[in-house]
């Protein structure tokens, strides 16, 4: 049951993040929503590599058992990469939000709509 719960959390995180992306109007909140989606995906990868009773894949002072179990290393490496990329993305998006606010004096995407001159 608790196993199932992990996957449920993954789906819920992604779902909540996308809901916020689709229905929130504040530029900053949208950045947070993207972070939530990214954490959902990170949790997904982490879940993929999980083994019960597994230690971290580090041999320094690891327990000297013959049936030593370790969690998978690749998902952890990927999460590391993804965290840095997610951090970079949110830093850049926050900078854009700051500049948008400075130039337009609003963060509401509903009020920012008029920037495209249609037709």
């Amino acid at each position: 049951m608790s196993d199932f719960f992990l996957y449920v959390t993954v789906v819920l995180l992604i779902f909540l993040g996308v809901v916020a992306l689709l229905y929130k109007r504040n530029l900053i909140k949208i950045v947070l929503a993207i972070n939530i989606v990214e954490s959902g995906i990170n949790l997904f990868f982490l879940t993929l590599g999980y083994r019960p009773e597994g230690t971290a894949p580090i041999f320094t002072l690891a327990p000297a058992l013959s049936d030593l179990k370790m969690v998978l290393p690749t998902p952890q490496a990927l999460i590391l990469t993804n965290i840095v990329i997610g951090f970079a993305t949110s830093a850049l998006m926050l900078t854009f939000a700051i500049l948008t606010y400075r130039n337009n004096r609003t963060l509401d995407i509903f009020k920012l709509r008029g920037v495209e001159d249609h037709e």
Binding site: D3, T60, K69, T81
Partner: protein, 280 residues
């Protein structure tokens, strides 16, 4: 439109539920459960592998000389990804410098940090500034420790660099970095470029074999090439070949890169306040 997208969201979530339940159960990924034992329950030659992750767990220590398999994946097996990731960070620092260029390239800091009512500086109290003075070297030392021991214990270039950058954040909030932003920025930028150039240079150094190949591993103890005992051991600093150097280069890049981001954003926020007249 609103209803359609909402229904679509539920549909996607439902599909994810159904699909994810068809994955392997949690805790039973592909490959062997145990590191040293094969499926039939016998102690095996550790080169016996089923999947990519098995290979990393069983041969990573022998091939790269690193006790930390995650580090060997990050810097050796998938080192090219790490290079891309480091460029993403460099890219963001460059982008932020470009976007905030008119704001951060001030020769002199114009903001005066004085409280309008009392006339005292709105600096922190003595306790905070002295505490920062004490804490900052410790934070740097801890970050450097994480960077250097990346191939032995949890940590590595990114983590250590981030810890060191938190020291910069401490300096900022306790008003140590207020003026001479131009010079600070130039120094940080130089070292960030240097870190990345070292990383790629180390990659090119291995081009006699392949780009980013770990040519120092298992050669001579003097060049971090100590041959380690396989299996659990106590760890030796001078093992793992190229990994500590790559880790160091990345740590340098992350520290200075994140510091640039912090300093730029901080400066922008203060300038914004200044324009609004909230300070002064």
């Amino acid at each position: 439109m609103k209803i359609a997208s909402f229904l679509s969201l539920f549909l996607i979530a439902g599909f994810l539920f159904v699909g994810i339940n068809r994955l392997h159960p949690v805790g039973q990924p592909l490959g062997n459960q145990n590191v040293f034992i094969d499926r039939t329950g016998e102690l095996t030659d550790i080169t016996y592998v089923d999947t990519m992750d098995d290979y990393y767990l069983r041969n990573g220590q022998r091939e790269t000389g690193s006790n930390n398999i995650v580090a060997s994946v990050v810097f050796d097996y998938r080192g090219f990804d790490t290079m891309g990731e480091a460029s993403v960070l460099f890219l963001v620092v460059t982008s932020i410098s470009m976007l905030l260029y008119p704001s951060i390239r001030l020769k002199r800091d114009t903001v005066d940090l004085r409280d309008p009512r009392t006339g005292f500086p709105m600096d922190m109290t003595r306790i905070v500034s002295n505490g920062t003075y004490l804490m900052f070297p410790l934070i740097l030392a801890f970050g450097a420790y994480l960077v250097i021991h990346g191939h032995l214990s949890p940590g590595g270039g990114f983590q250590g660099g981030a810890v060191m950058a938190s020291g910069t954040a401490l300096l900022i909030i306790s008003s140590y970095i207020t003026s001479h932003l131009h010079r600070t920025y130039n120094i940080f930028s130089f070292f960030e470029s240097l870190g990345l150039t070292i990383f790629i240079g180390l990659g090119f150094a291995g081009i006699g074999v392949t780009f980013l190949s770990n040519f120092l591993a298992n050669t001579s103890p003097a060049f971090f090439g100590r041959v380690i005992d396989l299996g659990p051991n106590s760890g030796y600093l001078n093992s793992a070949g190229l990994l500590p150097f790559l880790s160091l280069a990345i740590g340098m890049e992350v520290f200075f890169g994140l510091s640039i981001i912090l300093v730029s954003m901080f400066h922008l926020a203060r300038k914004e306040k200044d324009e609004k007249g909230m300070i002064k």
